[in-house]
Point group: C2
Chain length 250, copies 2
């Protein structure tokens, strides 16, 4: 691409590979995957190692992500306005709904979770901040898909037997999401779990994120697999409040 720095793009591609796979990769694997000469990859990795973005395992010689990225990642969280505006509404939403709350935005064709409030109980939970989730199989993702102009994601893995993978099914679903103003995923991403999400708009009305709750399907839905209207209402109210904080007027 003209006007950009090719070696920085290559370095970013290497970091994404390291983030997406088993954690550690050999120089040769990286070179093969990116179709680059080994000395080229070696120079890039040595530079990334020097700036702390990559570490090399002393025993195997393999490479992995480095500590400096953690600081950059959390610094990003500190300045992320979607997150800072959402925080005030996320705890009350978790309290009122009794479910886990997540806020997400689009990154690399998936949902990036930028804030996560645990379900207010003492079950074991893991923090999802920073994780990527599919757009087509989650409530957050369907909201983000519904309001963006890009095409449907080409890869639509069936996470459960209820995941919508067909283009027509998904398009119809997104039309419905736009009409209703919220989305649900009912055992489409995780068997036994359901979620409800609503759009967060920024200045000018553009959808900049989504806010949602998730929990066991029998808590989120009634006996006919329909999300409880009360829960839909409080999710939408909370998302609207965040939108107002962000300067949306619609």
């Amino acid at each position: 691409m003209p006007g950009t720095v090719q070696s920085i793009e290559r370095a970013a591609a290497i970091l994404r590979m390291l983030a997406g796979g088993p954690g550690k990769l050999s120089l040769a694997e990286i070179a093969r995957s990116l179709d680059l000469a080994k000395p080229t990859v070696h120079g890039i990795l040595r530079t990334l190692q020097g700036v702390g973005f990559v570490e090399q395992d002393r025993v195997s010689g393999h490479y992995q992500l480095g500590a400096a990225l953690l600081h950059l990642g959390t610094s990003y969280l500190d300045i992320n306005e979607l997150r800072s505006r959402s925080i005030n509404w996320a705890d009350p939403l978790a309290a009122r709904s009794g479910e886990a709350v997540r806020i997400g935005t689009v990154l690399e064709g998936r949902v990036l979770v930028v804030h996560h409030v645990f379900r207010p109980d003492d079950t074991f939970q893991t923090l999802d901040i920073g994780t990527l989730m599919p757009l087509h199989a989650t409530a957050l993702g369907k909201v983000l898909l519904a309001y963006r102009s890009a095409a449907l994601p080409p890869a639509r893995d069936p996470f459960t037997h209820r995941t919508l993978t067909g283009e027509r099914d998904l398009s119809a679903e997104l039309t419905h999401v736009r009409d209703a103003g919220w989305a649900a995923d009912i055992e489409e991403f995780t068997v036994g779990e359901a979620a409800i999400a609503a759009p967060i708009r920024g200045y000018g009305g553009l959808v900049v994120g989504a806010m949602g709750i998730s929990g066991l399907v029998e808590r989120i839905c009634d006996s006919r697999y329909r999300p409880h209207a009360r829960l839909v209402g409080i999710v939408r109210d909370a998302a609207r409040a965040v939108s107002r904080d962000l300067g949306a007027t619609r």
Copy 2:
């Protein structure tokens, strides 16, 4: 530096600047600080923007860290062995001590927090994972300083009136830390708070991190400002357990 890719080093310097300052910087400020021509910085920023590491504010034209870094940062956490081995011991340590627990390692001349367990009560707390703390003014930092071969940090800000800033005072303190096998900071970083930390060793006995507790000084120390021996003991025990998990034999 020969053998490394200069433009990647420059890109990393830009990202560190964005992480370290007020969050948003103008292209001109970055160019001045790094003594680079504006078109040079522009090309690097455009590339970083293309890969999601940087975003540009539509209104002011200023640049800030991008969402892709969050995913890289949390991916680093997922594979960080110091953290994965510490997790099992951190919760019990918080429970037994009744205090907040942090695990840290050295990054860019400071302490990088890689794990944090909240004090087990319902006071308001913020998650410190990814934050950087001073080496000279924290218990975690003093442990890390005591067992590394590098020189003392040149910048030794006085966070409180009790912070050790003199080279002789700090050197003497680090000798004491090595002798005792643990460190404390007693209102040296935060007025009203104290902390205790012990080294975590990796394979071969090298110190790869530190584990510590922190809380109100009147809970951590007795009336003569001495850390409670019971707390010192359980911190050291927990750190030794993590060390064993990491393959240290000492």
